[in-house]
């Protein structure tokens, strides 16, 4: 049972009304809304870097050249004297001005005192006055007339540092005797959690037919978007306005208010109408954002910071980077009886907020689609001298899914089972199912989804074909993976106890005297077509004219408090249905009839009383209610608006089955993905075109994280992959030659339409093991592939090792 619904019903039975007519969200004209559509095609998008304010100045940050050390002195004389420079600030200046240390300065940044796990978040200042913790950490800021001049002045800063040997290996970091990197993080362990079965394993492992002990590793990688960060801050008449590419404007507002010591009522955060991708990477409150806000207050002029690509890669946030040591007990039929996992996450250094711990925590508590009677996971988050970790889609899931899906294949190989057989044998079949980790799986059909994938991908046929081709000397293989996706991870599994942030969705609908409607959402979309979705849902459920809707997102002044990644679709539907009842109430009074819902039909801004056919326009109704309330019964309030909050009654879970057919060119270590199959449980497909696109993108990200993207540090803690040539992202020519995408849906009762919103978020997690399992199959099982990303040299080395061993390809 969901233990995080606050008192007061956020979900009532009457909200889940009949679902007769499907809201048209994509069959015709998928891009109704300009912010989602035509503007983006004609170069009229409004992104952060497009914002111009009179008198605006540009900031550039000086960044630490070393991974670990101390600042001895910063001489700013030359920089201050440089052309166009208005101001220079260092950590020492800010520490004097903003004495609060983070993250404790704001509860929204800090983990809750109710958290069941042991955690220690490092304290830090907005700019380091003294100790430096990773290469690329901002340590001073220059404000100048334009970015060119600001960068010139940054070069003129004379920064004297004392260098120390960095700690770069997470296991070394956690070992006793390692130097402590932060005063308040003993043992360099930011978080320790033990999850799972309360009772002991007993003789489970001793008596098992097969015990596998394996280490799986997913190195540092992520899903950074194409647009980096941007902030514009303005302080006027006691009011601070901050435009920011933040996925959680309401949270940022509270954090800034706390840090800068001004009331939240005087802070307004606005996420631009268009954000060039987020993927979680734009969720944290980065220190730079607060520094820019502080500068605007100090200088009395608008200050802007537009991050460049090198900064974005160095500053973080990074993700994945976990080591999973698994000990698994199987019976002779392949049933997984028990699983013990030791997880070490390398969370980097100055965690921008407790979101730095979220990926690891989610990984450790992620339910697998398998019925595992006994399961324990021990998680430790290690601090190192690298960029901080933070959520990157699919937050936290990739290393966990990498580990379990590789484990299943490794076990299948040893037990002489097919990859499909072992999974089918272990899938959860009865729902709801509570995993030993506390997660609840619901409303799903894993067997059915996997069967459909095996069918549409013709998996067994291809498996046979691959075997035959291997006999002829080709290196072709097929592989499978399965993964659960959780839609409200923050709420589930006691997560609400950990984070000091609300998990609910919220939206305000307001009708104006002319019957037009504005939708005000605290959400800050970054390309999920939310504007269109909200407009269409509202038009459908409220019955107003689609053309008369305006959607406002990301503005804390207009919207109720909410978090990001919430079920905007459902909360919009609920608010619209409630507003519709209000509209009907007014109309019924004007028509002198009873307000029986079923007697009224609302569409395109017209209301019809079906028993006798009388009509009223929304304009007439709204005008009466707002401008002439004397027409209404005593005590009626002259407004037609509705704010709805939604916390799902339980966290819906979705699921996807993946398959890959891969050809390996072992002599040079490159692969070609001949075919990729995906069958997902979407609950209910609302926007087929948008869904297909998002799934394709998820597959692309998954492939990119398997073979291309990696944050690599050298032995001095310098980020080698600090530009887009070295941090390589997948291009069009590297997509699978064939894509087979289908769905097998089980609606969830936890959303208004039964949709499982984040089916698309989790896609990348299944891709890596599907491809890896296919590569291993291509070698007839003779390679030991446990670590990704997998560059050509590494794949070549694996192949060489296999060739040198006795096993011949099947």
């Amino acid at each position: 049972m969901n233990n995080c619904t606050p008192a007061g019903a956020l979900w009532t039975a009457s909200d889940a009304a009949q679902r007769d007519e499907e809201p048209d969200l994509g069959q015709t004209d998928p891009f109704v809304y300009n912010a989602d559509g035509v503007a983006l095609l004609t170069g009229k998008g409004a992104y952060i870097a497009d914002l111009r304010l009179p008198g605006m100045l540009d900031a550039a940050f000086a960044r630490s050249p070393i991974a670990r050390g101390r600042i001895r002195a910063i001489d700013r004389a030359a920089a201050l004297a440089a052309e166009g420079v208005h101001f220079v600030a260092t950590g020492a200046d800010i520490r004097d001005a903003v004495a609060r240390t983070l993250p404790r300065a704001s509860m929204v940044l800090h983990a809750s005192e109710h958290a069941p796990e042991q955690f220690n978040l490092p304290s830090y200042h907005l700019l380091p006055p003294d100790a430096l913790h990773y290469e690329g950490e901002a340590l001073a800021v220059v404000v100048a007339a334009d970015r060119y001049l600001a960068e010139d002045a940054v070069e003129m800063l004379e920064i004297d540092c004392e260098e120390q040997v960095p700690v770069l290996d997470p296991e070394a970091s956690l070992s006793p005797g390692c130097e402590q990197l932060f005063e308040d993080v003993p043992g360099n362990m930011a978080l320790e959690g033990r999850f799972g079965s309360k009772d002991e394993a007993g003789s489970l492992f001793d008596s098992a037919h097969l015990v596998l002990e394996r280490r799986y590793r997913m190195n540092r990688s992520g899903n950074p978007p194409l647009e980096a960060l941007g902030v514009v801050a303005q302080y006027e008449n006691r009011r601070l306005t901050v435009w920011s590419t933040i996925q959680r404007p309401q949270i940022l507002r509270i954090a800034l208010a706390d840090i800068l010591g001004i009331p939240a009522s005087r802070v307004r955060v606005i996420a631009p109408q268009n954000i060039g991708g987020g993927f979680g990477w734009k969720s944290p409150m980065y220190r730079e954002t607060a520094v820019i806000a502080w500068l605007a207050m100090k200088l009395g002029r608008p200050v802007r910071w537009i991050e460049d690509r090198t900064e974005a890669l160095k500053k973080g946030v990074h993700e994945r980077d976990q080591i999973w040591d698994m000990k698994a007990a199987f019976d002779a039929d392949g049933k997984l009886l028990g699983l013990q996992s030791e997880v070490i996450a390398d969370v980097g250094s100055v965690l921008v907020d407790m979101y730095g711990l979220l990926p690891a925590r989610m990984s450790a508590t992620l339910p697998f689609p398998y019925d595992i009677p006994w399961m324990r996971t021990h998680l430790r988050c290690a601090i190192t001298n690298k960029a901080p970790m933070g959520v990157n889609r699919p937050a936290g899931r990739m290393p966990a899914v990498w580990a379990i899906e590789r484990l299943m294949d490794d076990a299948a190989q040893r037990l002489n089972l097919s990859p499909a057989q072992i999974r089918m044998r272990n899938f959860v079949q009865k729902f709801p199912y509570t995993s030993p980790l506390g997660a609840v799986l619901s409303d799903s059909d894993y067997l059915g989804t996997m069967r459909k994938l095996l069918d549409v991908f013709q998996f067994e046929d291809r498996r046979g074909q691959a075997r035959q081709l291997r006999a002829q000397g080709k290196r072709i293989g097929v592989g499978l993976a399965a993964c659960v996706e959780v839609c409200r991870p923050l709420c589930s599994f006691g997560g609400a106890l950990f984070y000091n942030q609300p998990q609910y969705a919220a939206v305000t609908l307001r009708m104006y005297p002319d019957g037009s409607v504005s939708i005000m959402s605290g959400d800050a979309p970054q390309g999920q077509m939310r504007h269109t979705t909200m407009a269409k849902i509202t038009a459908r459920e409220l019955g107003c004219d689609l053309e008369a809707i305006e959607v406002y997102t990301g503005d804390t002044l207009l919207s109720p408090v909410t978090n990001s990644n919430t079920d905007v679709t459902s909360v919009c539907a609920i608010a619209a249905r409630r507003l519709r009842r209000k509209v009907i109430g007014v109309a019924a009074h004007l028509l002198k009839v009873e307000p029986v819902n079923e007697h009224f039909d609302c569409r395109r801004g017209q209301l019809t009383y079906t028993p006798d056919g009388r009509t009223l326009s929304f304009r007439e109704i709204a005008w009466s209610a707002i401008m002439r309330p004397f027409l209404l019964p005593d005590g009626a309030t002259p407004d037609l608006q509705e704010t709805a909050y939604l916390e799902a009654p339980y966290a819906p879970t979705s699921f996807a089955a993946h398959a890959a057919m891969v050809e390996v060119d072992e002599a040079i270590g490159k692969i070609r993905i001949l075919s990729y199959g995906f069958v997902g449980d979407c609950g209910k497909v609302l926007n087929p075109k948008g869904l297909a696109t998002a799934i394709t993108a998820g597959i692309a990200t998954g492939i990119s994280n398997t073979t291309h993207e990696a944050y690599i540090y050298d032995e001095n803690g310098q980020l080698v992959t600090s530009n887009l040539k070295d941090y390589a992202m997948l291009t069009a020519g590297e997509m699978p030659l064939e894509l087979i995408i289908d769905h097998h849906d089980t609606p969830t009762a936890a959303t208004v339409y039964g949709h499982k919103r984040t089916i698309t978020e989790g896609v990348p997690a299944g891709v890596a093991p599907a491809i890896a399992n296919a590569i291993i199959d291509a070698f007839g099982g003779a390679v030991d592939l446990t670590e990704i990303p997998l560059f050509p040299g590494a794949l070549w080395a694996l192949g060489r090792k296999a060739a040198q061993s006795a096993e011949a390809p099947q």
Binding site: L41, Y47, A82, I695, A700
Partner: protein
Amino acid sequence: MAETTARRTIPISMLVNGCRHHLAVDPRHTLADLLRDQLGLTGLHLGCEQGVCGACTVHIDGEPVVSCLTLAVEAQDVAIRTVEDLAQDGALSALQQAFLAHGAFQCGYCTPGFLMVGQHLLDQGLATDRDAVREGLSGNICRCTGYEPIIDAILSVAQQEPRA
């Protein structure tokens, strides 16, 4: 702060979306920054500033270039075309319409670059098959679509229209 000294600027003249502009440019300013900051053509976007992501692609004399690796001062006497010029008389181009129809964009940040490169492929008759389009798009990165809908959109136009 030192007084802003009069920097040496170079006068240049260029045609942008059919309009002639006479400008005084700082020689180190890139064409990308000039178009965005001085001419307000913010359709092109900066994703990497090293010519890898293609989000800043514009046409110079009908050919695609990455404007982040072009100095503004080098654009003397050229004809530049940006994404703002693709729609004519308020009507979307065939390619823009195809992007709508095929769901070929989400966040839109890379989209202007893909439209300029895609339009060029179509103009040159290079969008012959899927592989040819993939090759043509090798200099454009997208994080939101997985490329396939973009390729669909470009091919759909190539197959509709007779070759230029």
